[in-house]
């Protein structure tokens, strides 16, 4: 974001090493590190993503700068206002209810109580969420992710090196990313590039039926309804069935497909590394080292998702395996 070179380089041990920085969500640094190792030229790579949200202006002050200055920015568009437009469309087209969206907040903040590394620690009810301030109708304040401080570091290693370092590595299996066109008016906001990002990641990982193959998912949901929509686009449920999915209980910590056992972005939103957090949480679940929020079944295949831009303009999907 800013004067990162002055603080990060010494702390990460990056000086006098082949250091580089990536653009977008820090999940792309994870993929860059994987590529370096897969090239055969490196044995290890340390991936670090950080942000001190407490020091910068409101996230929406920054996200309004995503917009072009001629046409979109003067009308007040930012990540939240764009998301509210997407949510209205989602409710209208598929009959998703505001209660179903609120349930995502109840679930994720409930999970976050078992994760020491989250920012928001609060048990809430559907009524609390629905009664919170309507900041950008139909979005309520509690359905929007906070602005958090956070740092995430991951050590990647070649197969040979990994066996020296740990008894229980998590393996990189697949990756896909996709970018949509900029203008919201040109897009169908409910048909996002996440579908093609997921298709690439599943192909690389050899997954033909994601509903069966994925044991748990960490999904980037800066706005509650997006967890439901992203589950659809990831093929974890049918189109328009995100509401039914949360109602079924499948995505609860003890369900058949736990989503965001960490608490997700609604509980902890370090803007830049939030996607890298998803990969780290997925790896912890595979390693059985997620502590109190470890899910109660064996995790062979885990999905981590990242997004940024208006209404999920950019999407990235990582698949990890045991």
């Amino acid at each position: 974001m800013s004067c990162a070179n002055s603080f990060d380089i010494d702390a990460t041990g990056g000086f006098l090493k082949p250091f580089s920085r990536t653009e977008g969500d820090a999940i792309t640094a994870f993929v860059y590190g994987c590529m370096r190792i897969m090239s055969g030229n490196y044995d290890t790579a340390l991936i670090v993503g950080l942000i001190k949200g407490s020091e910068n202006a409101d996230n929406d002050t920054i996200t309004s700068c995503f917009a072009d200055p001629f046409y979109s920015r003067p009308t007040g568009i930012n990540e939240t206002t764009a998301a509210a437009m997407q949510m209205r469309l989602y409710l209208q087209r598929y009959g998703i209810t505001e209660e179903q969206c609120a349930k995502v907040v109840v679930k994720n903040l409930g999970n976050a109580l078992f994760n020491p590394y989250t920012h928001i620690k609060k048990r809430v009810s559907v009524e609390d969420v629905l009664g919170s301030e309507r900041i950008c109708d139909p979005l309520k304040a509690m359905e929007c992710a906070p602005k958090s401080d956070g740092v995430c570091a991951m050590l990647l290693a070649s197969e040979e090196k990994a066996k020296e370092l740990t008894d229980k590595p998590a393996w990189f299996k697949g990756w896909g990313a996709s970018m949509d066109t900029f203008y919201l008016g040109d897009r169908d906001l409910l048909d996002t590039p996440l579908k093609s990002a997921a298709a690439s990641a599943y192909k690389m990982a050899g997954i033909s039926n994601p509903r069966k193959a994925i044991d748990m998912a960490e999904i980037c949901e800066p706005y509650a309804f997006q967890e439901l929509l992203w589950c659809e686009q990831l093929g974890l449920c049918g189109q328009g069935e995100g509401g039914k999915l949360i109602d079924s209980g499948a995505t609860q910590m003890n369900g058949s497909l736990p989503v965001n056992p960490s608490g997700g972005v609604l509980a902890m939103n370090p803007y830049v590394p939030r996607g890298l957090y998803r990969v780290a949480e997925a790896a912890l679940q595979i390693k059985g080292k997620a502590g109190e929020h470890q899910i109660d079944k064996k995790v062979n295949t885990a999905l981590a998702h990242a997004t940024y831009g208006f209404c999920g303009q950019w999407q990235g999907v990582v698949i990890l395996g045991s």
Binding site: I77, L89, C136, G185
Partner: protein, 158 residues
């Protein structure tokens, strides 16, 4: 050692970085039209779509979009919201705002505009008047600057 937890020491740092953004030929021609109360789109000769604001090329076909067409100033609401919070650049006296994407008649994309012309501080009234699928038309400012705000708001057609 102080018993009370003190707020960490901070300094305030404000960064101002002025940009001078070039409009380029397409935006320039588009805003010349806006000054004359005309909304221009461009048509793709390959897929036939009409996109507003006007574009230099079709982002789907990568064909130059050389055919300029004046489009309707009425359209249908695709989706809308109700901004009722502030952030840097949006002060208390500027909210609420009712943004909407509007499919202008004869175009193949949504225009991003702001609905107004009645008491939008009354949310219930807004929810009654503004509907997905509802019709709106452009209302222009008297004094024009050749920018998107020359359209003062989009008026709901009852």
């Amino acid at each position: 050692m102080a018993e009370e937890k003190e707020r960490p020491r901070t300094i305030e740092a404000v960064g101002t970085a002025p940009f001078e953004m070039a409009l380029g030929p397409t935006w320039t021609r588009f805003f010349e039209g806006i000054k004359e109360e005309k909304i221009f789109g461009t048509r793709c000769k390959k897929c036939g779509r009409v996109l507003v604001p006007a574009r230099p090329f079709c982002p789907r076909c990568f064909e130059p979009m050389e055919e300029w067409v004046e489009v309707a100033q009425e359209g249908t609401i695709v989706t809308w919201s109700y901004i009722d919070y502030t952030y840097f650049g949006l002060e208390d006296d500027m909210i609420p705002v009712v943004p909407a994407t509007i499919k202008l008649d004869g175009t193949d994309t949504g225009w991003w505009g702001v609905i107004g012309g009645f008491d939008i501080k009354d949310f219930d009234l807004v929810a009654k008047k503004v509907k997905v699928g509802g019709r709106v038309k452009a209302v222009w400012r008297k004094e024009k600057r050749g920018c998107v705000q020359d359209i003062e708001y989009w008026k709901v057609i009852e």
